[in-house]
Symmetry: C2
Subunit: 326 residues, 2 copies
Amino acid sequence: MATLRDIAKAVGVDISTVSKVLQGAPIRVSESRRQEIFRVAEQLNYRPNMVARGLRLGKSGAIAMPVPSTANYLYPEIIGGAEDAADRLGYVLFVLKQSAVDPLGRILNIVAQGRVDGLIFADDAPSAELVSALNGRRVPFISLNKGSDLDSHCVALDDQAGFALQAEYLERLGHRRVAFVKVIPTSFTSELCMGTFAARLEPEWVWECDFFGEGVLSVIERYGASDAPTAIATASVVVAARLVQGLREKGIRVPEDVSVIGYHDSPIAQWPLPGVTTVKMASREQGMRGVEALCELIAKGTFAGEVVSTPPEIIDRGTCAAVLPC
Amino acid sequence: MATLRDIAKAVGVDISTVSKVLQGAPIRVSESRRQEIFRVAEQLNYRPNMVARGLRLGKSGAIAMPVPSTANYLYPEIIGGAEDAADRLGYVLFVLKQSAVDPLGRILNIVAQGRVDGLIFADDAPSAELVSALNGRRVPFISLNKGSDLDSHCVALDDQAGFALQAEYLERLGHRRVAFVKVIPTSFTSELCMGTFAARLEPEWVWECDFFGEGVLSVIERYGASDAPTAIATASVVVAARLVQGLREKGIRVPEDVSVIGYHDSPIAQWPLPGVTTVKMASREQGMRGVEALCELIAKGTFAGEVVSTPPEIIDRGTCAAVLPC
DNA sequence: TTGAAAGCGCTAACAC
DNA sequence: GTGTTAGCGCTTTCAA
């Protein structure tokens, strides 16, 4: 690994001169020297050692995105957007899986070790404990989900608009008796969303479902036991996809017998063939804006919480049908 | 952030003494001092700055696991195992998503910047270009998949045993006319696996399928157009799960009309209710062993390629039935 | 125009 | 037993 010193030696100038030239600092050097320095740097394939620079500058040039699980099907979108923004802004983005046994451990560890300049929480808003630890260490962070603490720096999706659209869409198709499936564990946001949906179209049934386990089966059972809603709205594209599939396996036709609509969008939405209808949110953009906001926070120390206002969009994949007048 | 100096000042000793004591170096200090140093360190919530230590020691204490996509449903297992091992060995593991436009860019970047001591490739074996770049920079790496270059350091699963078991299982159930679905893009390993399967049970049809897109649909079409095999074996649990679901949506019964078996295991296997039968491989252990091997490589500079020999296991979730004698 | 020097936080060889 | 010192690679005043 070539260092500044190697270049300096080769060119015959001082190391500090090389540093300044390579940084493009406002310094007057003879043009020939400047050329020569760049030439040699190129030739030696010089790359600044960010660890050393970080030590000197008191910052690392890296940010981390802790995720509770690498198995979440929404993350690819968010992560993709975040990486793009990080690349563009000269930061390295590391995805850090939280440990199941000690969710805070790894995060506090890398923060305390000075490995990252900031954090961006992809899913759960950080716990109060984590927030106070982070504040104590003066490490800025952005959350992509509102926690109960509305003061925390947050780049949120406009879920109000999203769920309003979801309800409106079903309503427009003539659905009046619908079930809403919440994703558990429920969060501050999810309760809010449920409320937004209900404001437009009051669900007659409210069910709950986790991503894995028996959740989907139990929803199907409850569907069977109920006085059949004409549509099932869910707060998740994963649950929606599994639901379509599970219902069909039971011989219940989608959308002929019941319509199903999800929330968010991801490749998983295409698994029930030819796919499940969802409300597509601007997750990718959210990831991008989140990183941009974090960098702003790192640089300026301030950031006004914001909402990604890109309008939600219905992706019609044919699992919702109009209710026929009887 | 408390530094060594803060502690030294508070206790009234030299910074180097603190360093040595805290490291547990074989040094003789008066017991009272030792106690006092630990006490103050604790009180100040001291955590060594790994960036500084890294600079001094010429290593960062971090390793990265580049993944081509965070949407792969097998990774959670591997990553989980890798993280455990990394924690245990005192390393931080970062997941690094490769950029779609410049797959090598981010990897070379963090390596050149001295951010990581080694790499562990979760999926694709590194390209020849990457291998030579890595060797040039003397950055050790482990691949979890054999590339065409058998010399590269690799911690592989015993896929020979896995596919032999898959074939054997179907054979034992009486299947003779089977289709095998390869995952594309095919790799060195996948060809090998296909061979292992065929050695035991020659497939009458060999089809191909990618994870997303139209792959599954086209396999179903080909199934319909063919002189119906009694079983479909796949090299992927994702494809198997989607296949079960897609077939059932078309009214083809699984396993009554056709058996389906996957490969690997992941939560996704439980999506077709109540799940798809697969050959479970020791992915988690592979992640663990991979990190252990990498650390060995970092420390000792040598490592003999190895195969994770934990025997594969059939997880029967009811998508394979015995062929009835006609 | 260029260089010398200090220092980020840490470790390790060596001195007392 | 404990302190001094040098230095990892880099940036940045300040001096020449």
